[in-house]
């Protein structure tokens, strides 16, 4: 019989509320979120850090949840796409994605939005190069990227004009 590691209990702050779960220490945070905590907004594309579909924020920085072991979520502050809208009203970045066709099939969208929000937190008025760099770890098979880029530009402009 191979040795079997026991599950551990992990406590974290998830989308603003205290949360805890049991998981194998090296379970992917992505699977914990989707399967145990039923937060299926976070998507899996590649499972190897290349596509960004599983992007979430952990302690304020963007990470690929497919590469984070459950144990390292201990004590962390986590934000997923489910924590982005404020009640029933969508965040300005989400609204911009709808208005400018930044989402088609939607698989890359939660990750794109988290990457965009994280970029805007670091650079509230990003130039084109900063937007491209901020989204460069997120792949999209539908939009051809320009509409996503335009969505972020629109969200920035809206924030600037307060419209």
């Amino acid at each position: 019989m191979p040795e079997r590691a026991r599950k551990i209990r992990v406590s974290c702050v998830l989308n603003g509320s205290a949360s805890s779960f049991e998981a194998h220490p090296m379970a992917r945070l992505l699977d914990v979120l989707r399967e145990d905590l039923k937060l299926t907004g976070t998507k899996e594309g590649c499972g190897e850090g290349e596509c960004g579909a599983c992007s979430i924020e952990m302690d304020g920085v963007l990470v690929n949840s497919c590469l984070v072991p459950a144990l390292q979520a201990q004590g962390a502050k986590i934000r997923t796409i489910e924590g982005v809208a404020i009640g029933e009203s969508l965040h300005a970045v989400q609204q911009a994605f709808i208005a400018h066709g930044g989402a088609q099939c939607g698989i890359c969208t939660p990750g794109m939005i988290l990457a965009a929000l994280n970029l805007l937190a670091r650079h509230p008025e990003p130039d084109d190069a900063q937007i491209r760099e901020g989204l460069s770890g997120n792949l999209c098979r539908c939009t051809g990227y320009m509409k996503i880029f335009e969505s972020v530009v629109a969200a920035v402009r809206r924030a600037e004009t307060g419209a």
């Binding site: 191979p2 040795e3 079997r4 590691a5 194998h24 220490p25 090296m26 379970a27 992917r28 499972g47 190897e48 850090g49 290349e50 960004g52 992007s55 920085v61 963007l62 990470v63 690929n64 497919c66 590469l67 984070v68 072991p69 144990l71 390292q72 201990q74 990457a115 994280n118 970029l119 760099e133 901020g134 460069s136 770890g137 997120n138």
Partner: protein, 287 residues
């Protein structure tokens, strides 16, 4: 095939002393786990034979960038994002910032660490050429004590290095002597963001009255380990950049590298690009 998760254990030691004790007590059984950007990819691919991991991510003793008069010392857990935010590094060690910016994307840069990049020992990794150029030293610690080694002699053969079971890389030390040097970095990959290198070239030289007084050159992905191009350096020292000097240096480089064909590129392409990048470096020196 995906990994069988219950077979994998991971523990978080309280501090560095506890981590080293654990590594010493069961030699070779526990392996460090930092940002996981290499290890989790292996796990997911079902290619992670090792089963017990020590989570070192929280060890304060391995964190932080310290700037002193003579040296800048970086904890092994320093991430690529942290490298890019440091002003002293940007000013005096720009090649390290360039390599960090060229490593993966934002998310990888937030989790990937210098210590992990070194210990993963990939010949295609992007910080090793830079660390060789800056003649970095690394501190290796174990329950038995600490030792400093020159990074340029740390890797010995493919995936083999001067690091034993029970040891951790604690920090990386850069001597602040390159401020006035002309520095050059170029990574060639399939696309700008998030591509593993086909070739990665780092170099720096101190010029005196138009001559190359001192020079360091290192290249990734052209040999089983990062290549410190000592013969190219020899051919350049004391010379004035020019066509004949370039030709001799390129020939020295061609003789020194042993690139292979793999899924990312071909040996022939790497040979040609290595020569071209050396040419670009000499243009920088002449300019």
């Amino acid at each position: 095939m995906r990994a069988y998760l219950p077979a994998y254990e991971m523990e978080t030691p309280q501090d560095l002393a506890a981590a080293l004790e654990r590594l010493a007590a069961e030699s070779g059984v526990w392996k460090p786990f930092a940002g996981g950007t290499d290890l989790m990819v292996l796990l997911e691919a079902g290619k992670l034979p090792h089963k017990k991991f020590l989570n070192i991510w929280n060890l304060e003793e391995l964190r932080g960038i310290e700037v002193r008069t003579e040296h800048v010392t970086l904890g092994a857990l320093t991430t690529y994002a942290e490298v890019q935010r440091n002003e002293t590094l940007a000013r005096e060690f720009p090649l390290l910032c360039r390599a960090a910016a060229a490593t993966g994307s934002v998310a990888t840069q937030n989790r990937g660490t210098l210590g992990g990049n070194i210990a993963n020992a990939s010949p295609a990794a992007d910080s090793p050429p830079v660390l060789v150029v800056y003649d970095a030293e690394i501190e290796i610690v174990s329950a038995g004590g600490a030792r400093w080694v020159h990074y340029a002699s740390f890797h010995t053969e493919y995936k083999k290095m001067n690091l034993h079971a029970g040891e951790l890389i604690r920090r990386i030390r850069l001597t602040r002597k390159h401020a006035g040097w002309k520095q050059y970095f170029r990574k060639v990959g399939t696309r700008r963001a998030q591509a593993i290198s086909k070739i990665c070239f780092a170099a720096a030289a101190r010029m005196e009255a138009g001559r190359i007084a001192d020079v360091r050159i290192a290249v990734g992905s052209v040999a089983p380990i990062v290549l410190h191009a000592v013969r190219v350096e020899e051919s350049l020292r004391g010379q004035r950049p020019g066509d004949a000097v370039l030709q001799a240096a390129q020939d020295a480089l061609s003789a020194e590298i042993t690139p292979v064909d793999d899924m990312r590129s071909t040996a022939r392409y790497r040979r040609q690009v290595a020569r071209n990048l050396l040419g670009e470096f000499l243009e920088v020196l002449a300019g």
